[in-house]
C-alpha cells in the first residue's frame, strides 16, 4: 500500500530534475526565438517566437508539457516514469513537427529564396524535452538493450517526420537538398577516416597495452608519451605531420602514389590514430589490471599455459573495460575527424568549414548534426556490446 500521508513541504516536489527542465523550457519558449526567417540564406533572419506559431488548435501541442508539470509533483513510480517518458516524446515530436509546418507556411507566403531556420528556442526546447524523456527512461532502470530501445523510440517519430519530408522547407534541409551528392560523399569519407583510424589504433594499441601491462617499467614512459600527444592541439598535430609527410611523398614516389602526402587523408589518419592510442592503451592496461589475481593464480595452478591464461581468463575479464576505452576513442575520433577537413581530408568537416567561411549557419548545422548522431550511435553500440558481455 502506498502511504497516503500528506508529504512534508520540502518533499512536495518529487522530481527536481523535471522541475529544472520545465523552468528551462519555459524560459527558452518565452525568451528565445523558436524559428528565424530571412529573405535569403546569407543574411541574419528575424526571430519568430513560439507563441506566434501556436495559433488555433496548435496550442494543444503544449498539452504534454502540462502533463510533465504535473509529473514534478507525482510520487516516483514506474507508471509515472513511463507516462512522463511518453509525454516528453510527444512534446519533442510536436516541436519538430511545428517547426516544419511553420516553415512550410512561411514558404508558401514568401519568395523562393527566403529561408526559415531553427532558432535558439527550438534547439533548447528540443534538447530539454529529450532530456526529460531520457531522464524518465533512466529512472526505469532498464537493462542495457531495453534502455537503448527506449531511447531510440524517443527520437524515432522525429526521424520519421524528417524522412517523410515534413521538414523539407527548413533551411538546413534546403542546404541538404542542394548538396545531396556532396553530403553523402562527405559522410562516407568521414566513416572511412574513423575506420582507417581505429584499425591501426587496435593493431598498435592492444599489443602496446599488453606489453606495458606485462612490463611495469614500460608503463610510465608509454603513458608519458601518449599523454603528451594528447595535449597537442589537433590543428598543431596536423601541422607537425605536414612537413615530414610532404618530404616523404616527394622522395618516395611509391608513397605518393598510394595517396600519402602532407595533406589529405594520410596525415589525418596518423594524427587521429595517435590521439586514440591513449584511451585504447590505457583501457587495455586498466582492464588487465583489474582481473582478480587469485583467478590468474588458480589458472596457472591448474595448468593453463601463458597463452591460455591470456585468452581464457585475462582477455574475457578485461573486455568490458577495454571496450569502454575503445568507445571513448571512437567517439573522440568521430568528433576530431571534423577538424581533419582543414588539411584536405574531407569528411563532414568540409561542410562545416564551407558553411563557416560563407556565414551559412545552416550549412554548418548540416555538417555537425550527422556527426553528433554518428557519435551517439557508436556510443550506444559499444554500450550494447559491453552490456551483453557482462554476465
Amino acid at each position: 500500500m502506498r502511504s497516503l500521508a500528506i508529504p512534508q513541504s520540502v518533499k512536495f516536489v518529487r522530481n527536481r530534475v523535471l522541475l529544472v527542465l520545465i523552468v528551462a523550457g519555459l524560459l527558452a519558449g518565452s525568451g528565445l526565438a523558436f524559428l528565424t526567417a530571412a529573405p535569403n540564406r546569407l543574411v541574419t533572419g528575424t526571430g519568430i517566437r513560439l507563441d506566434a506559431c501556436l495559433g488555433g488548435w496548435r496550442a494543444s501541442l503544449l498539452l504534454p508539457a502540462a502533463a510533465l508539470m504535473l509529473g514534478v509533483f507525482l510520487t516516483a513510480m514506474r507508471r509515472t516514469h513511463v507516462v512522463m517518458a511518453i509525454a516528453a516524446t510527444v512534446l519533442l515530436t510536436g516541436f519538430v513537427w511545428l517547426a516544419g509546418d511553420e516553415a512550410r507556411r512561411l514558404a508558401q507566403a514568401g519568395s523562393p529564396l527566403s529561408r526559415t531556420s531553427f532558432g535558439g528556442g527550438f534547439w533548447l526546447l528540443v534538447f530539454v524535452s529529450w532530456l526529460a524523456a531520457a531522464d524518465s527512461i533512466q529512472r526505469l532502470r532498464l537493462r542495457v538493450p531495453a534502455m537503448i530501445a527506449a531511447n531510440v523510440a524517443v527520437i524515432a517519430p522525429s526521424i520519421a517526420l524528417l524522412l517523410a519530408g515534413e521538414l523539407a522547407q527548413l533551411s538546413v534541409l534546403k542546404e541538404y537538398a542542394n548538396r545531396q551528392g556532396i553530403f553523402y560523399t562527405a559522410f562516407f569519407r568521414h566513416l572511412q577516416i574513423v575506420v582507417f583510424t581505429l584499425l591501426p589504433t587496435l593493431l598498435l594499441g592492444v599489443p602496446l597495452g599488453i606489453a606495458s601491462f606485462r612490463r611495469e617499467r614500460w608503463r610510465a614512459p608509454v603513458f608519458a608519451v601518449l599523454n603528451v600527444i594528447q595535449t597537442v592541439p589537433s590543428i598543431a598535430l596536423f601541422g607537425l605531420l605536414l612537413a615530414p609527410l610532404a618530404f616523404l611523398a616527394l622522395h618516395v614516389p611509391a608513397l605518393s602514389r598510394l595517396g600519402i602526402g602532407g595533406i589529405g587523408i594520410a596525415p589525418a589518419v596518423i594524427a587521429l590514430t595517435l590521439y586514440s592510442l591513449l584511451p585504447v592503451v590505457r583501457s587495455t592496461v586498466a582492464g588487465l589490471t583489474q582481473v582478480p589475481a587469485p583467478a590468474i593464480e588458480a589458472a596457472a595452478g591448474m595448468g593453463m599455459t601463458r597463452g591460455q591464461i591470456l585468452r581464457r581468463v585475462q582477455i574475457p575479464l578485461a573486455l568490458p573495460v577495454f571496450l569502454s576505452g575503445l568507445r571513448v576513442a571512437t567517439v573522440q575520433t568521430v568528433g576530431l575527424a571534423v577538424v581533419a577537413a582543414l588539411i584536405g581530408a574531407g569528411g563532414m568537416g568540409a561542410l562545416v568549414f564551407q558553411g563557416l567561411s560563407s556565414s551559412a549557419i545552416d550549412l554548418v548545422l548540416l555538417g555537425v548534426v550527422p556527426v553528433v548522431a554518428l557519435a551517439v550511435a557508436f556510443d550506444a553500440t559499444f554500450r550494447l556490446i559491453a552490456g551483453a558481455l557482462t554476465p
Binding site: 582478480p292 587469485p294 583467478a295 590468474i296 593464480e297 588458480a298 589458472a299 596457472a300 595452478g301 591448474m302 595448468g303 593453463m304 599455459t305 591460455q308 581464457r312 581468463v313 574475457p316 575479464l317 554476465p391
Partner: protein, 310 residues
C-alpha cells in the same frame, strides 16, 4: 609420491626454504603447518612449480619435477587456494570443467564428472550448474573450488589454506567433506594451514615447518605426545595438549564392553574429548556407551582416560 631432498629457496637473498627434506607417501593426507613466514605455502607451490626451487631435488613419482612440463605436472595435481580464484565470467560447470577441458576430455565425460562432483560436494547439480560465482556464498564458492581441483581426477591434491577465509561452521562442514573424499578416493592430499585443530582433525601425518625446515614430522598423536622442541610445543599449545590428545581417540578405544551402568549414553564414535565433556557436564564417573545403531555396547569410566597409551 613427493620427495624433497635438501631443497632450498630464497627470495631476494632471504631464505624461505632451508635444506628441506620430506617425503609424502602415496594415499596419505599430509598437513603442513607452521607460523607465517615458515615457508609452508612456498613449499606447496614448489610441488607444482608455481615456484621453482633454487637447489636440491624434488621428485614426483620418482622423477625430478623439472623433467615434467609445468602445465603437464599441474594438470596431474589438483590445486585449491584460500581466495578460491573461481573465474567470475564462467558458470559453476565451466569452472569445474577447467582441467577436463585442458585435457580434452569428451564433452559427455566432462559433464558426468561435473555432475558427480557437485553431488559429492552437496551442491544439487540442477540448481548450481549454471550459476555464476557471484551468485554463491563463500562456502559454496569454496566447494566449487574443491570440485574444480578434483575434476581432472588428479594423482594428488594441493590445498593452500583452503578453508582459512570461511566461518567456523562452514569450515567444519568442508573439513568433513574433504576427509570423506580422502577416505573414499584414497588420493594423496597435501594441505597447508596455520590452524592446529584443522591439522589434528584431518591429518594422517603432520609436518611442522619452522623457518623453512622441518621442525617435526609425525602422526598427530606423536606430535602431541612428544613435541620435538619448544617451537612445536608452543605451536600445538601447551595448556590444552591433553584435551587435544583426547580429541584424537574415540570412546571405542576405551570401551569396557561387558559393563552395564545406568545414565544417559554416549556414542562409541564420539571422541574422548566429547566424553570428558559429558563426564563433567553430567557429574558422573561412568556412563553407558551405545554403538552407531543405538544398541548398548558397554560402558566407559572417567579413570580410563588417564590410561591411554600414546
Amino acid at each position: 609420491m613427493i620427495t624433497f631432498q635438501h631443497v632450498s629457496k630464497a627470495f631476494d637473498g632471504v631464505t624461505a626454504i632451508d635444506d628441506l627434506s620430506l617425503t609424502i607417501n602415496q594415499g596419505e593426507f599430509t598437513v603442513v603447518i607452521g607460523a607465517s613466514g615458515s615457508g609452508k605455502s612456498s613449499a606447496l607451490k614448489m610441488i607444482n612449480r608455481l615456484l621453482e626451487h633454487d637447489s636440491g631435488r624434488i621428485l614426483f613419482v620418482g622423477r625430478e619435477i623439472r623433467s615434467f612440463k609445468p602445465e603437464e605436472l599441474r594438470r596431474r595435481m589438483g590445486y585449491a587456494i584460500q581466495s578460491i580464484g573461481l573465474f567470475p565470467h564462467w558458470t559453476v560447470e565451466q569452472n569445474i570443467a577447467t582441467v577436463p577441458d585442458l585435457l580434452h576430455w569428451p564433452r559427455s565425460r566432462t559433464r558426468d564428472r561435473v555432475t558427480e562432483l557437485l553431488e559429492t560436494l552437496k551442491l544439487p547439480p540442477d540448481m548450481y550448474r549454471n550459476r555464476y560465482p557471484h551468485q554463491l556464498s563463500g562456502g559454496q564458492q569454496q566447494r566449487v573450488g574443491v570440485a574444480r581441483a578434483l575434476a581432472g581426477d588428479p594423482d594428488m591434491l594441493l590445498m593452500d589454506e583452503p578453508f582459512g577465509a570461511l566461518d567456523p561452521v562452514t569450515r567444519t562442514a568442508l573439513q568433513h567433506e574433504i576427509a570423506r573424499i580422502h577416505d573414499a578416493s584414497g588420493k594423496t592430499i597435501v594441505l597447508v594451514t596455520h590452524d592446529i585443530d584443522e591439522a589434528l582433525r584431518l591429518a594422517d601425518r603432520i609436518v611442522v615447518l619452522d623457518r623453512g625446515h622441518v621442525a617435526q614430522a609425525g602422526t598427530p598423536r606423536e606430535i602431541l605426545s612428544n613435541p620435538a622442541n619448544d617451537y612445536v610445543a608452543d605451536f600445538i599449545g601447551r595448556s590444552d595438549v591433553g584435551i587435544k590428545l583426547l580429541g584424537l581417540y574415540t570412546v571405542a578405544d576405551c570401551l569396557r564392553p561387558d559393563e552395564v551402568v545406568a545414565g544417559s549414553p554416549i556414542a562409541s564414535t564420539a571422541s574422548l574429548r566429547e566424553a570428558l565433556s559429558a563426564f563433567v557436564a553430567q557429574r558422573v564417573e561412568r556412563m553407558p556407551v551405545v554403538d552407531e545403531h543405538d544398541r548398548p555396547a558397554g560402558a566407559i569410566a572417567l579413570a580410563d582416560l588417564l590410561r591411554l597409551k600414546s
